[in-house]
Amino acid sequence: MSSPSCAQPFSQAALEHLDALYGYAMTLTRDQTEAEDLVQETYLRAVRAFGQLMPDSNLKGWLFVIMRNAWLNQLRHNRSGPRFVGFDDATETVEHLVGKQADDPHVVYLRKLECHEVRQAIDSLPTHYREIIVLRDIEGFSYQQIASMLGCPAGTVMSRLGRAREKLKRILTSWRTPNVANAMSATR
């Protein structure tokens, strides 16, 4: 969450957030090629807008806002592309996801499994839930920072985050037991 300083030039500070931005881009697009394009577009915009960045502002948050705006802009220009869905528009049920998970090969390494499993569960959420989980629980932005990014009240962030976590818990709970058991048998 650092801002560029004399000791750390903008380019170096901005590069430190590449993995986080790529993760956010994957969250938004769910497609590696699209995510890479979005990251590239974000950095292009950031370089062009560098002069507008205030000295003590939050560089990471600023880059995330640029990425989100770039993504929304792409959506507006591509109506056939993926869209943000409403709260009750989730089409994938837990049962469906469990079925998908069962097709996965056994994962030997338990931590990799956990990381993979959690990420997969997050990816299975509707976009607005996925996004808020990534912003808060993966990237650690505060409620107020997220509210600024999403252009909504902090109360909305709180309630949406609560619903997203509950949904994620349900998904992970339904996956956890068989996968851990599989991993255990694979590691012994």
Binding site: L21, E36, Y43, L44, E114, R119
Partner: protein, 316 residues
């Protein structure tokens, strides 16, 4: 406001660091007395820790990294101060440096005096805090260690390596945790009767990284050792005992004895159900004759503060 139903609605806010002022104070007071809410906090905290593991899921491909580097190389040159301006500024600073040096020295001495007083006050207040039972919660690291121990006992936390060899387990941690793990092998080298058994190890999530978890057993009684870098965890709270220049923090969490301390860049937690303060668990690393005094110093005195009636920690 301190009803469980009100409090449970604030758990996520508290864990997210969004609870402030009076609400935060009331929440934390309630937690000290309410086992069920403490259990809810622990569960929610564990869930959020699990989510943090997903942070490492996406790493930008190398070709994208190179493309981004190329973009950032195009950052306009005028964002850096021109060389001649830098030189002028440096020169002017050098001119004034000598005249400022003596003033700086006076300021530094004044600051040092203030800092010394502040440290003395802090130590004095810290002493008062340890003498006022129930005011401070254990550190998050101690809570995590106790929770990890409990999950291990409940068979919810399988070991990722099963071995009785300290070398093998130390090697297994190489590259998996951002610090070096070297388990002592005194017991193996001494040829003495083995008082404890090394069982195995695994990684556990803490903050945004992994901590090292090592399972021991002394007879039928399990002992857990959790290690992480002291840059991510600092022992705090509980009863403080100084020994050999180290400060040990004793807590009773979930009914387990938890000892936390920092030494040479690492923070440790030992969890067990051993007697008194659980100081015998230190024997997993300090079993030599020269270490007996270390363990002895950690024993409570007969009227010591760790007697059950004075245990200052809330039971989670």
């Amino acid at each position: 406001m301190n009803q469980c139903s009100d409090i449970s609605n604030q758990i996520a806010l508290w864990l997210d660091g969004e609870l402030q002022g009076e609400e935060k104070r009331v929440f934390e007071l309630h937690l000290q007395d309410c086992k069920s809410c403490s259990a809810l906090v622990s569960n929610e905290s564990r869930f959020l820790d699990t989510l943090h593991t997903a942070k490492q899921a996406h790493v930008a491909p190398e070709q994208l990294r190179n493309r981004v580097r190329a973009i950032l190389d195009e950052v306009p040159a005028e964002v850096s101060a021109p060389t001649h301006l830098r030189k002028r500024l440096t020169d002017s600073l050098l001119l004034t440096r000598d005249s400022q040096r003596s003033r700086k020295l006076r300021i530094s001495l004044a600051i040092a005096a203030v800092v010394a007083i502040a440290i003395a006050m802090g130590l004095w207040l810290g002493r008062i805090q340890t003498e006022q039972p129930g005011r401070y919660l254990p550190s998050s690291f101690a809570l995590m260690a106790a929770d990890t121990h409990r999950r291990y006992l409940d068979h919810h936390l399988p070991l990722e390596i099963t071995s009785a060899s300290p070398e093998e387990i130390s090697t297994w941690f190489n590259g998996k945790v951002p610090f070096s793990v070297k388990l002592p092998k005194y017991q193996e080298a001494s040829g003495q009767v083995k008082l404890y058994q090394l069982e195995g190890a695994r990684l556990v999530g803490f903050k945004e990284d992994y901590a090292a978890y090592v399972a021991y057993r002394m007879g039928q009684r399990p002992i857990s050792l959790v290690m992480t870098s002291n840059s991510v965890a600092q022992p705090a709270g509980g009863e403080e005992i100084m020994s050999r220049g180290l400060t040990f923090h004793f807590d009773s969490i979930y009914g387990f004895k938890v000892i936390t301390w920092t030494d040479r860049g690492l923070t440790y937690a030992l969890v067990s159900d051993l007697e008194e303060r659980g100081q015998q668990s230190c024997g997993v690393c300090h079993q030599g004759v020269k270490d007996h005094d270390l363990i002895d110093r950690l024993k409570p005195t007969s009227a010591g503060p760790s007697s059950p009636s004075r245990d200052p920690r809330p039971t989670f």
